[in-house]
Subunit: 293 residues, 2 copies
């Protein structure tokens, strides 16, 4: 039971404030605290969200600690999304299929894990498209955890077709298994036949080997494409820059990040998330970070 | 290393905010979060203080969790002040003598426990007296953990004499052992010969068996006494009410509580605590609580 937060002019948090956390390593750059604290404040929920650095080897004791310290819920990021499953009482069907958890909540005294990245990406896309995604055709670049989560959610959202592009055939097959019959293996050139292109690789992410690179040749992007990059650092990757130059509509990773946090908020509080305020906060931080780079 | 908090208009806490906590059971009514969050904010320290409920049986796993989750420091309250010692790497000499810890900090990768209640009471008394306590004579009511901590600190502060009043002779002896030769067993009537009277029992505390009662007959309190009650709920116990009626100067438990939090702040941050702001916040909450009672 989480109380309404009393805006009394007193210092906050107080003794009654519920505590939520994101665990991962590294964790300093997580935007989750800013997103969730904005949401808790705007929705008048007496809860605070903090970032806790947990090493790979410390995960088991950290999860015992989450129980013993009465932490009210968790967001989970790298490198714990798979390993955390063995420390939970239950995971949702979606998490079981993906072998991945990014949101942990209490249900009847049990710690339960869910994976909200895929549905968050679909929600974000639909918000940007101002339309349902059902019936569209999608090309997805990458075969990692993000690609798997997105393909499962796209299939649930009844898209017409998902073309999966990746270099490792086994990994591609494992993604296709999640596609419920609408996914097929493809090549970059298949971009010509789809409505939506999603980059689910890390190519183009700042401070990585792929920084400054694009996962798709610019000549393949047309004006009628909607191009979505799940990266948000930088806010405009080379892929999105080329897409804008081609006249395509684009969205960056702030949407998936925000809708994922919004889903966590709703799971934890039972309330509708104040999404526009959360988007504003995420963009503010991300822009500040890009500026300081 | 704790950074300065950037007041950027963004939601707070962020991913870089250090996390401190008070553990105990029950914990909802703890004033520590309000005191420490006021201090962190006023001193521009990027840290947040939360209350975490930890049961007696959960203490071991909670402490493993504190390490694995990277909690930056702890305040410790009932029922863990003694039991926590076995879960720490080291305790200070003072904590060793008292068998009690109320403040936990990191030092060279080790978790260290200290007991700050006694020095906090002495600091608070000196602030109220506007003078050193050295050379004064003190009567102390009670033989529990608080009395023990206070007598040790009074001896360190070179008071002339401490008269200990308690019903259990063995418990009185254990308090006298901490008095460094200046403490002796006494009776309530010895109040006539002392400068300062301290109630370190729970008699007079709201919501307990001793609510509405006083630990010292009102006829024993004179105008030249300074009477200190370590209780702060209610802010004016029957003992303090009688003392005011006798024309004595008084102080309640807000002082010890605040100076204890101020000591924790300094241990954790290396900075001087903003004591007057903390006192203001503590009084504000305590008055609000009394009003809602």
């Amino acid at each position: 039971m989480i109380s309404d937060r009393k805006f009394s002019g007193l210092p906050w948090p107080t003794g009654t404030t519920k505590v939520f956390a994101v665990i991962g390593d590294p964790i300093d750059h997580s935007l989750s605290p800013v997103l969730l604290n904005r949401a808790f404040t705007e929705a008048n929920v007496d809860a605070v969200f903090v970032a806790l650095g947990v090493s790979r080897s410390g995960l088991g004791k950290a999860m015992d600690g989450v129980r013993a310290l009465g932490i009210s819920g968790l967001s989970v990021t790298m490198p714990h999304k798979e390993a955390i499953i063995q420390h939970l009482d239950r995971v949702t069907d979606r998490s079981k299929r993906l072998g991945s958890v990014n949101c942990v909540f209490w249900e009847g005294g049990k710690l339960v894990g869910d994976s909200t990245d895929g549905p968050a990406l679909v929600e974000s896309l639909q918000a940007d498209l101002k339309d349902e995604i059902a019936g569209r055709s999608v090309l997805i670049l990458g075969t990692g955890g993000a690609a798997r989560a997105i393909v499962l959610a796209l299939a649930d959202a009844k898209v017409k077709e998902v073309v999966v592009v990746g270099r490792n055939s086994d990994a591609v097959e494992r993604v296709l298994d999640l596609g419920g019959g609408i996914a097929r293996k493809g090549v970059a050139g298949d971009a010509a036949h789809v409505d939506i292109i999603i980059n689910a690789t890390s190519v183009g992410m700042a401070d990585t080997e792929g920084s400054g690179l694009t996962p798709l040749s610019s000549g393949l992007i047309k004006q009628n494409h909607f191009v979505c990059d799940i990266i948000y650092f930088p806010l405009t990757t080379p892929l999105l820059k080329h897409s804008l130059e081609a006249g395509a509509k684009v969205s960056n990773g702030i949407g998936m990040l925000t809708f994922q946090a919004a889903r966590a908020f709703t799971i934890w509080t039972g309330k509708k998330a104040p999404v526009s305020g959360m988007l504003e906060a995420a963009n503010l931080v991300a822009r500040g970070r890009a500026g300081s780079h």
